[in-house]
């Protein structure tokens, strides 16, 4: 599945980061690298972007960009 499909409060382990150019590099630089655990903390009031929790900090990402990130959902939904 991709990151945009992960529900609020759920987390997953990143498998692959897609996209290209500045966006992809930015995602990697911000720590969204394979094997990293991310949690979806919140969805913005208008439904987009989403707020993530990873590596001990909060990051926002647009859904269209989140679609580029493949991950494996973890079972233990909070």
């Amino acid at each position: 599945m991709t990151l945009d499909q992960l529900g609020v409060g759920n987390s997953g382990i990143i498998l692959k980061v897609g996209g290209a150019g500045a966006l992809r590099r930015r995602l990697l630089d911000m720590g969204l690298t394979p094997k990293t655990r991310v949690m979806v903390r919140k969805v913005a009031p208008m439904g987009d972007p989403i707020e993530l929790h990873l590596r001990g900090y909060e990051l926002t990402l647009r859904l269209e960009d989140a679609r580029e990130i493949e991950l494996e959902a973890e079972e233990d939904a909070q």
């Binding site: 630089d29 009031p45 900090y57 909060e58 926002t60 960009d65």
Partner: protein
């Protein structure tokens, strides 16, 4: 000694810079881009001890040179050696710090990253102070690893240690320093702890030219690839003064600007590609991911051995709790609007207007006493008018903006420094994305409803140059508060029973035109992909009073500089045009014969298709360039009326349909001189002039259609 201060956004970099330099700072731009470049001189007591070390080393060399030259009777050379020694002492006694933009990586994509790279590679600073947020150490060290590759003496300032320790975390500083190969100094920029130690460590490292002790943070395939490439490009890199290791890493990452800079031969390019492909095949991933992964893996290992993280920090828990309300699904937008309304009310209604009134009372008093003094002296009446009606009135009216700007920026810096602004961007992003901007542009645009000048100045907080330019161009479409008196006067005269409706239509119309312009700009001048909206939401923090104060000082200084240059000249020009006729005779009161009025008459046929041919209307629009409030006062002067009788007089000049067209034109045409000056500061003179002309043209077109439509109804 020059130090570059580098670090992530939200890691306390500005606070540290302010602690280091106090008010001894100079704000400018990096050449060619509007990325802010702040430079300052370290003024702290602790600086005294530092250069002594280096100084003593260098001094010995100089003295030896002096004695040798003196022994050889080469007097001139001896003198030179002595002079150089003195030069050195002066130069070393001063530590300068250049504050680089807050960045997360040294990739070649955003202006901020490119500016930082170029500065570090080309300006040869004596050292780098890399500020790292201890509470968010993993992501912060990612930049550290890239900075180390630059092979410049470097010190890591581990910030927010107070917070980290208070939450029960510990960091083995020595271990961290050993693993990274650079000195690490724990500090708290907000509490002003560890700053002197930092200066000492930085100066000692730079003085001894102590380079980072470790370059290899990689292993396996990445390691082999980087080494192969480094070996290959070594000569090229050294020729252009770039550390080979940095060049190699960037090449492996697929960094196009670095490839160009190195000027590799086709054969060498192929060999680099070959090494990279080999690495990619071995790792089963691509080059960019491989390097990011390599750095983060090293960091994960390092953090595991050197850092004992607290469970969940108090600040983080607090932030999550605050966000539960402030970015709540239903409450977020109402709360945001309430906060902005409160700020507007306080700025324009309570504090700002009180201070503005106070200031204008003061200015009036000074003007009156200067005026009477000049009168008693028997000064030529024209020069008297120049001083009083031109200089004092013009600059005085602009100065009365100052309190509003200071108060507004006080609130804005509170919003920004506390971390709330990032939340606003998060909440509002979807709305602005449609016109190709991000949520970050929302606040400057909103301020535009108060005054375009601080709104344009506030675009400085936008991290992407493309967004910044576009926001500046769109902000004037948010109808500023100075236009309100015009609307009030006209609606009173023509639509007394629908005043609110007309005003709402005007405001909405301005926004609609702004959105349309945004869509057009997005698909033309600002075509291309915007900078990705991947933004950190920092923990909420108490803003540091020192930083807030320094920002206010900076903004006030900036505005005053403009008030006494561009705006000063513009007001004198307008005064000149208003006071003289075309034969340079002083015109009678009312100014019907003035050059400005002649110009108004000359221009009035242009407005005929919009329904208002009266020269007084076009003259009022001309004076509106100095300040929008002047439109109403000019109309009053030219019709010989006052506020009470003006509405009746207006009915003689405009038909209702023409009044609608006039209002539309006023809404959209060029912003006032203060705003244009602010645009000039941000985008340059050419852009500012083009913007003023384009907006006036656009205003004409829209007003034309509005007039034609209005004729159908009225």
């Amino acid at each position: 000694m020059i130090f570059a201060l580098a670090g992530n956004q939200n890691c306390g970099k500005t606070t540290l810079f302010n602690q280091l330099t106090g008010s001894n700072q100079h704000v400018g731009n990096f050449p060619g881009v509007t990325v802010e470049r702040k430079e300052g001189v370290v003024t702290r007591a602790g600086r005294g001890a530092i250069p002594r070390l280096w100084h003593r080393m260098r001094q010995e060399e100089r003295h030896r040179a002096f004695h040798e030259a003196a022994r050889d009777n080469a007097l001139r050379e001896a003198r030179d050696a002595m002079r150089e020694a003195h030069e050195d002492r002066r130069r070393l006694g001063e530590i300068r710090v250049v504050d680089l933009p807050g960045i997360y990586s040294l990739s070649p994509y955003t202006n901020e990253e490119i500016v930082t790279r170029d500065f570090l590679l080309d300006s040869h600073p004596d050292g780098i102070i890399n500020i790292v947020d201890a509470t968010n150490i993993e992501r912060n060290l990612y930049l550290t690893l890239q900075l180390i590759e630059l092979h410049i003496p470097m010190v890591v300032a581990l910030n927010m240690m107070d917070e980290f320790r208070a939450n029960g975390g510990t960091i083995k500083i020595k271990k961290l320093s050993e693993e990274l190969g650079v000195p690490v100094v724990p500090i708290s920029a907000v509490k002003n702890e560890g700053i002197d130690e930092l200066i000492h460590a930085a100066a000692a490292t730079a003085a001894a030219r102590q380079l980072p002790a470790r370059l290899d943070f990689c292993s396996g395939a990445v390691h082999r690839c980087i080494h192969a490439v480094a070996h290959l490009v070594e000569d090229h890199a050294e020729r252009i003064g770039v550390p080979p290791r940095f060049a190699a890493t960037k090449l492996v990452e697929g960094d196009a600007p670095m490839m160009e800079r190195l000027a590799l031969s086709e054969n060498e390019k192929d060999m680099v590609e070959h090494s990279v492909t080999e690495m990619e095949q071995e790792l089963g991933t691509d080059r960019e991911a491989a390097l990011a992964d390599m750095r983060y893996c090293f960091i994960d290992d390092l953090v595991r051995t050197a850092v004992v993280k607290p469970g969940e920090s108090r600040e983080h828990v607090r932030s999550v709790r605050m966000d539960a309300v402030l970015t709540h699904k239903y409450f977020a937008i109402p709360i945001f609007l309430a906060i902005m309304l409160l700020i507007f009310w306080l700025t324009f209604g309570v504090i700002g207007s009180f201070l503005s009134d106070l200031l204008s009372t003061g200015i009036d008093a000074v003007t009156a006493s200067v005026s009477s003094a000049l009168g008693a002296y028997g000064l030529n009446p024209v020069v008297h008018s120049l001083v009083i009606d031109g200089v004092f009135a013009g600059v005085g009216s602009v100065l009365s903006f100052l309190p509003i700007i200071v108060v507004l920026f006080f609130f804005l810096s509170m919003l920004e420094d506390s971390g709330y602004m990032a939340r606003v961007a998060f909440v509002m992003d979807k709305l602005l994305r449609k016109i190709g901007l991000s949520g970050r542009s929302f606040v400057p645009m909103l301020i535009g409803f108060g005054c375009s000048v601080p709104a344009i100045m506030a675009t400085r907080t936008l991290s992407s140059e493309r967004d910044r330019r576009m926001t500046i161009l769109l902000t004037p479409f948010m109808s500023c508060s100075a236009k309100l008196p015009i609307y009030a006067m006209f609606t009173m005269a023509f639509f007394p029973s629908h005043r609110a409706l007309v005003m709402i239509c005007l405001y909405a119309g301005g926004m609609a035109v702004g959105v349309l312009c945004g869509l057009v700009l997005k698909n033309t001048a600002f075509h291309g992909k915007p900078v990705p909206f991947v933004m950190e939401l920092p923990n909420y923090r108490m803003p540091s009073p020192k930083s807030v104060f320094l920002l206010l000082w900076d903004k006030a200084k900036d505005f005053l500089t403009r008030a006494f240059t561009v705006i000063f000249i513009a007001t004198i020009v307008i005064w000149f045009l208003q006071t003289f006729d075309t034969r340079l005779n002083v015109v009678a009161a009312g100014g019907e014969a003035s050059m400005l009025a002649s110009f108004g008459r000359f221009l009035s046929p242009i407005f005929a298709p919009l329904g208002f041919t009266d020269w007084r209307a076009s003259t009022a629009l001309l004076t509106g360039f100095s300040a929008k409030e002047a439109v109403v006062s000019t109309l009053a002067v030219l019709t010989g009326t006052n506020t009470a009788t003006l509405p009746a007089a207006l009915a003689g000049i405009f038909t209702p349909a023409a009044a609608v067209a006039f209002l539309t034109f006023t809404l959209l045409y060029t912003p006032c001189v203060a705003a244009v000056a602010a645009v000039k500061r941000e985008l340059g003179g050419g852009h500012a002039a083009a913007m003023a002309v384009c907006q006036s043209g656009l205003a004409w077109v829209v007003a034309f259609f509005v007039y034609r439509a209005a004729l159908l109804f009225v």
